[in-house]
Point group: C2
Chain length 110, copies 2
Amino acid sequence: MVNSSALRLDSIFHALSDSTRRSILRDVASREKTVTEIARPYAISLAAVSKHLKVLESADLIARERRGSFQIVRLKPAALKPAEQWLAYYEKFWNTQLDALERHFQGEKK
Amino acid sequence: MVNSSALRLDSIFHALSDSTRRSILRDVASREKTVTEIARPYAISLAAVSKHLKVLESADLIARERRGSFQIVRLKPAALKPAEQWLAYYEKFWNTQLDALERHFQGEKK
DNA sequence: AAATCATTTAACCAAATGGTTGACAAACTC
DNA sequence: GAGTTTGTCAACCATTTGGTTAAATGATTT
């Protein structure tokens, strides 16, 4: 219950922890792309890209669809929501922390 | 340049990809804690917790301070900002995607 | 200064990660 | 149908990860 959402976050954050994968997400955010198209900018093998796609897919961050001989990849951005919500919790903390810092350096003007 | 901020995001997202570490962050968000205090709820060794803290520290998500014989740990929530900013980019995508979905299922009422 | 408490480090282990190359399968093209 | 294109899978490799236990360090107490 709690655990499944924890596993979900594990897989999302893990998927995002690699800069190639984050970059691929940006790539497919602009428009759907084939695997070969996605691989083009990167200096790694197609097989390596295929593995990255599997990681992104298991985090539910992309979807694939067979279109003829091509595999079409598209972003599933809604899957990032749990991560954003998790982070949102800390927003109040960093705001108050930064406010305190500002008061410290500028002198509190009442 | 671009690369150092990528490494930064790598380490932040990696730190967040483990549920014990996310849980520790929540724990220290409420107030400063010592390492032993942090370790108490978890069924792992103190050494393992110490390693988790090192990961969180290298992502700059916590700070430690020696106070007598204790190591006191506190949240540095501002370090989460880059992650939040990275995710913010995708907000527009998931909003438009969810809007489209809603129109699809509810029928577009003008 | 000896004992104890708080924490880190070292050495180890199994599993996962990110990469490779090569074999394979499926769909298109000639 | 033979060959090409598109992509995945299997086997392998080095490194990292998340855990362990045991030894080492640092501060406090007695």
